[in-house]
């Protein structure tokens, strides 16, 4: 029964979910890769630093946000929004900055050493950013 409900939910999710999402960072950052757990800590605001101690600047991509958090945390976006509303409106932390498109994402990451974002694997430019984790 549970599998059936889950299957039905999957049908409702756009096909773009099948595309791989990669977590990306700045080329000059000493961080070469991140574990899924580290990415969760960064995007859920549990840490404000990269494993090397540098400040992190997490970035969301509007159109990929739902898929990204579903792959990362296995939770639908409304639960993530409720989670961030709790953290934010109790004055503990601020959520990742929302960027409108891939171009803004690539540009922001290239210009900020501590920036961490994500993108459709097919759209990245490895001359500008480094892949830190592949989410499937």
């Amino acid at each position: 029964m549970k599998n059936l409900i889950f299957g039905l939910c999957l049908l409702l999710i756009p096909l773009s979910l099948s595309a791989e999402i990669v977590v990306i960072g700045n080329l000059n950052s000493p961080v070469n890769n991140l574990s899924k757990r580290e990415v969760q800590d960064i995007f859920l605001g549990r840490t404000r630093a990269l494993p090397n101690g540098n400040f992190v600047l997490p970035l969301d991509l509007v159109e990929l946000r739902s898929n990204f958090y579903l792959l990362l945390t296995n939770r639908p976006i409304e639960q993530i929004d409720a989670y961030w509303a709790r953290i934010m409106f109790s004055g503990q932390n601020t959520p990742p900055i929302n960027l409108p498109d891939e171009q803004a994402m690539l540009k922001t990451i290239a210009e900020n050493t501590g920036a961490i974002g994500y993108m459709d694997k097919r759209k990245i430019n490895e001359k500008l950013v480094r892949v830190l984790l592949i989410l499937e």
């Binding site: 400040f55 970035l59 939770r75 639960q79 109790s90 004055g91 900055i97």
Partner: protein, 423 residues
């Protein structure tokens, strides 16, 4: 003095950073939350309000004041380690609308990734929901459980808090200390009865109290466990001196012999309150459960020692959450026997009854069961509906507004519908 600190920080946050935009956008963010809700009961005598500082109540005639609110928050990063937050919540609140509803106004300094120090007007982080009670979007229910949160009208403190995080094998332990001062305004009910105590005609009282507290929160991916303690010293509360003066007056003691002996029971100034609390929250994405229990130890008849608790269980079906909630509040009353009048005069009887009500009728004996639905109908918008049935013990409706000299029902229903949103 204290409001001016909050105002100062608000202004500092406005001017410390002119809209200096970086490549990834502005350092400023404006966000907010709100609830538009309507509720009604099937009783004309019992008026429901979710917080004791609310001016309006809802009865059979329904009303929108108890749950509706709109909050706006401004955040700005001054430096990487220094941040300012100001939050204002427009809602029904007696007293000074602007000052009382200025919820947060603080500077947050993070000297390290795990240490955070906040200075200014900060949340009175006494229970699990304390800091986000206003944000309906963050919880499944229509409002925080009434038996637990209805008794605690204090939302913020002017002061400082310090929280330190510790990592334990991917789980997070947060230890927090806070110290500050609250000036929370509440309706004066039931003490005024201005015809008897002419000097205390003010309809608003101020809970003027320094406070200190600590809590520990342990978080795993699905669990959040919490242990807390808070202490409050009431410097000022209800002005009971005019009534005490009447009771100790020799003339009064002729009509009601020995009535002066109950005057010390009216003490509220310089009394202490201790809150002890335990809470657990579980959410695995499908099932969600939450429970809290607290014990409040006091030295005044106006807020008797009370045990408060609730248990909630919910289940998500895609975008719909169904939940059940049980709450209980039970005060440990110590009735004081009030000497009887020796003359038959209506005014003397009225005084006798008033003293009895003031001292002996502050009990909270309330239980309720709720069933409700939350539907996340749009991104960042949730519709809710909730039915609650309340039971009251004798002298147990202190969390409700009650007219004087009216026979109160011992059960009532409350229906609510609402929409919660964030932006």
């Amino acid at each position: 003095m204290r409001p001016s600190i909050a105002v100062l920080i608000f202004l500092a946050s406005l001017f410390s950073r002119t809209t200096h935009a970086t490549d990834w956008g502005s350092n400023w963010s404006v966000s907010g939350f709100g609830t538009f809700g309507a509720a009604g009961t099937d009783s004309n005598a019992l008026g429901f309000h979710r917080d004791r500082f609310e001016q309006q109540d809802v009865t059979r005639g329904w009303g929108i004041t108890t749950d509706s609110r709109l909050g706006v928050q401004i955040d700005t990063d001054i430096t990487q380690r220094l941040h300012a937050t100001v939050q204002f919540v427009a809602r029904d609140h007696v007293g000074n609308f602007w000052e009382q509803n200025l919820e947060w106004a603080f500077l947050r300094w993070m000297p390290s990734d795990t240490l955070s120090i906040r200075l200014g007007r900060v949340g009175a982080d006494v229970f699990v929901l304390s800091d986000y009670r206003n944000v309906g979007f963050t919880y499944p229910w229509m409002r925080p459980p009434h038996e637990f949160y209805g008794a605690l009208p204090i939302y913020h403190l002017d002061g400082i808090d310090l929280s330190q995080k510790f990592n334990f094998q991917n789980n997070l332990l947060t230890a927090k200390l806070f110290v500050g001062h609250t000036d929370t305004q509440m309706p004066a009910d039931p003490v005024p009865a201005s015809e008897i105590t002419p000097a205390s005609t003010a309809s608003v009282i101020t809970i003027d109290a320094p406070s200190i507290g600590a809590n520990l929160v342990y978080e795993t991916s699905n669990w959040r466990l919490r242990l807390g303690y808070a202490f409050m010293h009431l410097l000022k509360g209800i002005d009971t001196q005019p009534l005490a003066d009447i009771l100790t007056n020799p003339l009064t003691n002729i009509f009601i012999p020995n009535i002066g002996s109950v005057a010390p029971h009216l003490a509220i100034q310089n009394t202490d309150l201790h809150y002890y609390s335990l809470g657990a929250h579980y959410d695995d994405g499908d099932w969600l459960a939450q429970t809290e229990a607290s014990y409040t130890n006091t030295q005044t008849v106006f807020f008797p020692d009370t045990f408060n608790s609730y248990v909630s269980l919910g289940r998500r079906f895609a975008k719909v959450t169904a939940y059940a909630l049980y709450g209980i509040a039970y005060s440990f009353d110590h009735p004081v026997s009030i000497p009887e009048p020796v003359i038959d005069n209506p005014l003397v009887h009225q005084l006798h009854q008033f003293v009895d009500t003031t001292i002996n009728h502050n009990g909270i004996h309330e239980q309720s069961v709720s069933l409700g639905l939350r539907w996340d109908v749009l991104p960042k918008v949730a519709l809710k509906t909730q039915w609650t049935h309340y039971w009251f013990g004798t002298n147990g409706t202190r969390l409700w507004q009650t007219p004087a000299n009216t026979q109160l029902p011992d059960e009532t229903n409350l229906w609510s519908v609402g929409v919660d949103f964030i932006f």
